[in-house]
């Protein structure tokens, strides 16, 4: 099993979620994060005090999938999240050793469906 972590632009979440459900990927966890990278931030000025906001709001998706589905998932995210502008984000793939469903205590890939 692998964990696919994708950092995407928040307003692309709906598209990505749809793309993923379309390929039968029905479980995921998302969180609000802030990203720092090539994308420039913006300046805010409060009563003459300038303040550089370098961290961009991003959404992080975490999807644990069976090894065979990793490529499909990555492709699907890649396509649906891309706008071609700097700051579209990254996808990271991490190894996962085990998955357990709390409700039933099942484990293994079947948990991911």
């Amino acid at each position: 099993m692998k964990k696919v972590e994708a950092i995407i632009k928040p307003y692309k979440l709906d598209d990505v979620k749809q793309a993923l459900t379309a390929i039968g990927c029905s479980g995921m966890t998302i969180s609000e994060v802030k990203g720092f990278g090539r994308q420039k931030g913006h300046k805010e000025i409060y009563r003459g005090a300038e303040y550089m906001v370098e961290f961009q709001p991003k959404t992080k998706l975490e999807i644990v999938v069976g090894d065979d589905k990793v490529e499909q998932v990555v492709r699907s995210i890649q396509t649906s999240a891309a706008t071609g502008k700097i700051g579209d984000g990254k996808i990271f793939i991490l190894p996962v050793e085990e998955a357990i469903r709390i409700r039933t205590n099942e484990s293994g890939e079947e948990v991911l469906q």
Binding site: Y46, R47, G48, A49
Partner: protein
């Protein structure tokens, strides 16, 4: 058309009234009696001014600080309300407004402070009048002013002071700084500045210059917040600040309009200029920001509005629309310069810009009214000598500012020596809400 009996009845009624009027003329003609309309207006104005403090100022200030300090600002505003109200009731009102031993033109102790004849409202029954309103109504209206003035100052040392220090400072500051200045300016014939002919309709000097000048010393003695000015300290909730701005703005109608102590044309014109000045000042601020930063900010707009409101305070009641436009414009320009340029140049950390906005605004209005109060410029003073009035206004503003600075300096040094002014580093890092009050503003 008239039934005869009705006519007879009316004549009878009239005669009864006529005779009644002979014995109780004041009931009928009430030439100096209670005016319910004036009373209603000043009562409402008192409520509006209290509303400016809680929750108005608490929200305005609370939104500007970082999230870890928001409750500390609320708590300070509320606690000051309570402390000053008690002081005002016990003896503050008497020291500010007792007229015993005063005589127009005569100098003496009571030119500077009032006596104790009205301590704890002793001798003031609900029936006592002050002009056309009950004296207790005047008492509560003026109480609200005494409450809000030290409230303004807390913006200068926000995010770093011990709560105990704030309480002690505010209580003593009202006694030592506010009461005498209030008396000297508004104490009536025989009071120091009043006799001099100082015009301060609703508190440009009494409220804003005193608060602003004290805030400067407080900001300097407080020292900078950790990280200032390197670390960004953006407002944590501008919607709260803007909501507070709206409340302050609306409450200011009572602040200035109520200072007429009557519901009449003077009150009406005071309210009109209280609307015009902040509008012009805010648009001025907005224009500068648009020009310099490329974008106008909501905080800039709000700051300009408050500057315009502070500036029109002393002048409302005497200037007309022209004066309001001029004062609005001048305060927008001057306060922008103070908060965005002067503060940074000198490097003191006046956290919420009390000096730049209230001090600056108060000065602008206090001085400019010497010109615009003239009937020639739409004001209400027919034979105003602009030059001498300007000198008098300047003298009063400067001497009050200096006095307040001295009082603030001594008070803060003393408090620092006894209990310390600032929380320690860890408490400041964690935030005052947890470290001083064991509470969190939001648990979302």
């Amino acid at each position: 058309m008239f039934d005869k009996r009705i006519l007879q009845k009316r004549i009878l009624v009239f005669l009864v009234l006529f005779i009644y009027a002979i014995f109780f003329p004041s009931d009928v003609f009430a030439e100096d009696g209670l005016n319910a309309g004036d009373t209603a207006w000043v009562l409402v104005s008192a409520a509006l001014v209290l509303f400016m403090m809680i929750p108005g100022l608490a929200m305005f200030y609370g939104g500007l600080v970082r999230v870890k300090n928001v409750l500390s600002l609320f708590m300070q505003c509320f606690a000051i309300t309570a402390i000053v109200s008690v002081v005002w009731t016990l003896f503050g009102y008497s020291v500010a407004f007792s007229t015993e031993g005063m005589q127009a033109g005569a100098k003496g102790l009571h030119s500077f402070v009032g006596g104790f004849s009205k301590v704890f409202l002793w001798s003031v029954s609900p029936e006592h009048l002050n002009g056309s309103i009950p004296e207790v109504v005047f008492f509560i209206f003026q109480m609200a002013f005494a409450v809000i003035t030290p409230g303004l100052i807390v913006g200068a040392f926000a995010e770093r002071f011990k709560f105990a220090a704030v309480c002690i400072f505010s209580g003593l500051w009202v006694v030592l700084a506010y009461l005498p200045i209030c008396h000297m300016v508004w104490g009536g014939p025989g009071a120091f500045f009043a006799d001099m002919g100082v015009i301060d309709f609703a508190g440009g000097i009494v409220v804003h210059v005193t608060a602003g000048s004290s805030a400067l010393i407080a900001a300097i003695l407080a020292g900078r917040r950790r990280g200032y000015p390197i670390t960004a300290m953006p407002p944590h909730n501008l919607t709260m600040t803007l909501t507070g701005t709206g409340m302050l703005w609306v409450g200011w109608f009572g602040f200035n309009g109520g200072s007429a102590l009557a519901a009449n044309g003077t009150a009406g014109m005071a309210v009109v200029v209280t609307q015009i000045s902040p509008c012009v000042a805010a648009l001025t601020w907005m224009a500068i920001e648009w020009y310099r930063n490329g974008k106008p900010s909501a905080l800039g707009f709000a700051t300009g509005a408050i500057a315009g409101l502070a500036a029109i305070t002393p002048a409302s009641g005497t200037v007309g629309p022209l004066g309001a436009v001029a004062i609005g414009l001048a305060s927008g320009l001057f306060c922008y310069w103070l908060t965005t340029s002067v503060k940074h140049r000198f490097g003191y950390d006046d956290a919420l810009d009390v000096v730049g906005v209230h001090g600056g605004g108060g000065v602008v209005g206090t001085l400019l009214l010497s010109v615009f109060a003239s009937t020639a410029l739409g004001g209400s003073k027919a034979d105003l000598n602009m030059v001498s009035q300007f000198l008098v206004q300047t003298f009063a503003a400067v001497s009050c500012a200096v006095y307040c600075m001295v009082v603030t300096f001594v008070l803060l040094k003393a408090i620092d020596a006894v209990i310390g002014l600032r929380v320690n580093e860890e408490a400041e890092t964690v935030g005052l809400d947890i470290s001083e009050h064991e509470e969190a503003g939001y648990v979302l």
